[in-house]
Symmetry: C2
Subunit: 436 residues, 2 copies
C-alpha cells in the first residue's frame, strides 16, 4: 500500500520533533500500522528544522495554505499554534476533505465546536491527543480506556511551567519571580508567561478534558481560572507544615448542581501520588465510578514528548482513514447528537475546603475575633496555625484550614475578616482538595 501522505504545518519545536520521530521510528511504526507514513509537504515559517527533512522528497513552502490546498496531502498536521492562522488553515483543510491532527489546545478549547461540526459534516477526523498533557495518552484513556465509567472528577497538573515553579519554590525556598525568570531562561516559560502562570493554558486543556469526560460542549469561557503568581514561599511552607503541597490543578467534577470547571492553586495531601509529581512533569488523576482512581503521568511538553502524541494520532488516523465515522470514536468521545447540556457551575456555587492566610496584629483576642466570624458563617475549621512571618515584628500570620464550604459563604466571611482593623491587607485564600 502507498505511504500515507502527511502535510506538516509548522517546523518549530514540535514540528521538528514530529519529523524526527516519524523518520527515526519509521520501521517500528510500519510494523505496527502495516503502512508507512511520509511527510510529503511541509510549511515552515522560517527555516528552523527544515534540515531534518529530505528536501528531495518533501515539498517545502513558506505558505501553509499551499499544503492544505494540495490534493496530494491526506492528513494535515497543524503545529503552528494560536487561534487565527491555525484556525483558518484547519478549517480550510477540513473543507478540502483532509484529516487533521493538531497539538493546539487553544484552538480546540475555543474554536472546537465549529471545527468539530465542520469535520463531522465533511466526514474527516480531527485528532488532538497532543493538546492535553503532551505525551501522556490521556485523551485516549478518557475517551476509550475508561469508556465504561461515569467519570466523577478529574484533577490534573496540566501545565509544566507552573509545576516547575511551585516545585522550585518548595524544594529551594525560592520566590515566584525568581523561579519564573529561571523558567524563562530554561525555555520552560514564554517571554510573556501569562498563559502559563495565570492558568489560561491549563484552562484550555481542562476544557477539553471536561468535554470528553461528561459529553458536554467545549466551554472555555465558563472555566474559572486563577494562576499561581500570588503564591508566596510562606504559603508553600505553611502548607508543608500542615501536611499538604500546593499544586496548580485543573479540576472538573460532576455534581448534583452541575459541573465544576476550575483551574487554581490547590493544597493536596502530600501522601497523594499526584502531590509528588514534580518539576515540569504533568499528571492527570481520573476518578471513574467503576475503576476508582487512575493516574497518568509523563512529560506535558517538549519536542519529542509532544511529537509522541501527534504521531500516535497520525497512526490512528491512517489506520481508519477510509472507515466511516460511525465506526470511529466520536470526536469528543460522545455522539454529537447525544451531548449533555448540564451546566457549568459559577465558582461562587462550588464547594471546597480552603487554606486562608492573613496578617494580624500580634495582640490578644485577634484569633478569637477571626474564629467567631467563621463560626457565625457556619464554617468549621480543621486546623489553625499562628506563625511569625519573616519580616514580622508586632505581627503574626494566622493560617486556617476550613472544612468544605460553598465559595460565596467563605467570600462573605473573608470580606468581614478583611474589614477588621487588627487584620492587615487582604486574606490569601487557596482552595484545598483531598482527592480521596
Amino acid at each position: 500500500m502507498d505511504a500515507a501522505k502527511v502535510g506538516l504545518l509548522g517546523l518549530g519545536t514540535v514540528g521538528g520533533g514530529t519529523a524526527a520521530v516519524l523518520l527515526r521510528n519509521a520501521d517500528e511504526i510500519q510494523r505496527r500500522l502495516g503502512r508507512s507514513i511520509e511527510i510529503t509537504h511541509a510549511a515552515g515559517l522560517g527555516i528552523a528544522n527544515q534540515s531534518i527533512l529530505d528536501a528531495s522528497k518533501v515539498k517545502l513552502t513558506e505558505d501553509a495554505f499551499e499544503v492544505v490546498n494540495d490534493p496530494d496531502v491526506e492528513i494535515v498536521v497543524e503545529l503552528i499554534g494560536g487561534y487565527t492562522l491555525a484556525k483558518d488553515l484547519v478549517m480550510k483543510a477540513i473543507e478540502n476533505g483532509k484529516h487533521v491532527v493538531t497539538a493546539n489546545k487553544a484552538l480546540i478549547a475555543t474554536h472546537g465546536p465549529e471545527i468539530m461540526q465542520a469535520a463531522m459534516a465533511r466526514g474527516v477526523n480531527v485528532a488532538y491527543e497532543a493538546a492535553v498533557a503532551g505525551g501522556i495518552p490521556i485523551i485516549k484513556a478518557v475517551r476509550e480506556g475508561l469508556a465504561a465509567n461515569r467519570i466523577k472528577w478529574i484533577a490534573g497538573i496540566i501545565n509544566g511551567t507552573g509545576n516547575f515553579i511551585l516545585t522550585e519554590m518548595r524544594d529551594k525556598g525560592r520566590n515566584f519571580d525568581d523561579v519564573l525568570k529561571e523558567a524563562q531562561a530554561l525555555g520552560y516559560a514564554e517571554a510573556d508567561p501569562t498563559f502559563d502562570v495565570e492558568g489560561i493554558d491549563a484552562a484550555h486543556k481542562l476544557t477539553i478534558l471536561a468535554s470528553l469526560a461528561y459529553g458536554i460542549e467545549l466551554q472555555f469561557d465558563k472555566c474559572y481560572t486563577e494562576g499561581i503568581s500570588k503564591i508566596t514561599t510562606e504559603d508553600v511552607n505553611y502548607a508543608g507544615e500542615l501536611g499538604y503541597r500546593i499544586k496548580h490543578l485543573g479540576i472538573t467534577r460532576k455534581t448534583g448542581h452541575g459541573i465544576e470547571l476550575r483551574v487554581h492553586p490547590t493544597l493536596i495531601p502530600e501522601k497523594r501520588l499526584i502531590a509528588n509529581v514534580d518539576g515540569v512533569m504533568n499528571a492527570v488523576l481520573v476518578q471513574g465510578d467503576a475503576v476508582g482512581p487512575t493516574l497518568y503521568y509523563g512529560a506535558g511538553a517538549g519536542a519529542e514528548p509532544t511529537a509522541s502524541a501527534v504521531v500516535a494520532d497520525i497512526i490512528d488516523t491512517v489506520r481508519t482513514i477510509d472507515i466511516d465515522a460511525s465506526h470511529k470514536v466520536p470526536l469528543l468521545g460522545f455522539k454529537a447528537d447525544d451531548m449533555s447540556d448540564i451546566a457549568i457551575m459559577p465558582i461562587e456555587d462550588v464547594e471546597t475546603a480552603c487554606y486562608l492566610r492573613m496578617t494580624a496584629l500580634d495582640k490578644p483576642g485577634v484569633l478569637a475575633e477571626v474564629s467567631e466570624v467563621f463560626a457565625l458563617h457556619n464554617i468549621s475549621l480543621e486546623a489553625v496555625l499562628q506563625k511569625e512571618p519573616a519580616e514580622g515584628v508586632a505581627k503574626v500570620h494566622l493560617v486556617l484550614l476550613t472544612q468544605k464550604v460553598i465559595e460565596r459563604n467563605i467570600n462573605a466571611a473573608i470580606a468581614e475578616v478583611e474589614s477588621f482593623s487588627d487584620i492587615e491587607g487582604s486574606v490569601a485564600r487557596i482552595r484545598l482538595e483531598h482527592l480521596g
Copy 2:
C-alpha cells in the same frame, strides 16, 4: 441499531462486576458508542451474581458451551479464568466466529499464540485489556497511545497482593507470613498464594506487556520469575536506610544483547513516583524513546476496576465489529507477519545493580575479606552498611550495594563469599534498578 449481544462466561467477582457496570452505565455507554450492549446469555458455575441479571432477558445456563455455540451471541466474554476450560471455550467461540473479550492473563500468556492465530484466521477480535493491571488502560496505552515510540523498557507493579504485603512490611514492620495471612483473610490473596507471591501472575502480565512493547511472540516460559516470600523485614528496613524501597517489579527491557524479561523484588530509589505506589494498587512505568517516562496507576484487581477494562474492550469490539482486520489495531500491537524474533535473554546475562545482605561473625577483617572478593570480580560497591541484627550477639549483618554487574559475575562472587567460614548461611540478593 439492535443492541450488541454479549454472552458472559463466569458470574463470579469479575463477571458480577461486568454485569453491574454494563447495567448501571448503559445510558452513558450508549451515548459514547451509539449502540446499546446487552447481556443476552450468561453461564455461571453456581448461582453467584445471577440475581444481578434480569432473568426474563438473559438466557442463563450452567453449561458455558451453550453460550459459545449459540448463534445469537456476537461477543463472548470469558471471565472464568484458568487454562483448560477457558481455553476450550475461547477456541470454540473463535471457531464459531465470535469476538472474544477476556480478563485471563494466564490464558493469553501461555496459549496466546494459538488463540491469536485462530482469531486472525477467523477474522475475529480477541481483546484482553483486563488481563494486565486490571482497570488501568495500559494495553491501550502501549499498543496505541505510545505507538510512535520505540519502547526502551517497562517496569511495573503488576500484582496487588505482593505490593500490599511489601507495603505492610515497610509501614508496620510486620513479617511476610503475618501479612500474607491478613491478605488471605481480606480476600486479596488466594488460599494457595503461589501465583501471587511467587511472581507467576506478574510474569503472565509482563509476558503480555513485552510482546506489545517489542512485537515479539508471547514467551511466558522464558520469563525469569522470583517471588517475595524470602524478603525479610530487615531487608525492607535496610533498603529504607539507604534511600530505597523494595517493590515486586516486572521488568522488560530491550538491550543490544536481547530482551530482558524478569519478575523479582527490586530496590528502587524512594524518590521515584512508582516507589510511592502502595497497598494493592498497580502502576506501570513505560520508557519510550520519544515520550520519555510515562506512568499509569490504578487498581489492578477487584470486581469493578477489572470490569471497567472488560467493558471498554466490549465497547471497542462493538464499535469495529464489522470492520476488516486491516483497519484495526493488530491483536498484539504489531502486524503478525512482521514480528521480531529478537531473543529473550537468560537471567545470567542480565546486568543490574544489587543489594546483598549476609550474616557475618563480628570479628575484624571480615568486611575486608568480603570486599576483596568483589574487587577481584571487578564489582564496584556503591554503599556498605554494617548492622547488628535483632537476634544478633556475636554476629553482624553486612549490607552491600553494588554497581551494575552481569548476573553470572555476581553469582560467582556470591558463591565465593558463601564459602567463607566467617559468613553464616547464604547471601540474600535483591536486584536494584534506578529507573532513571
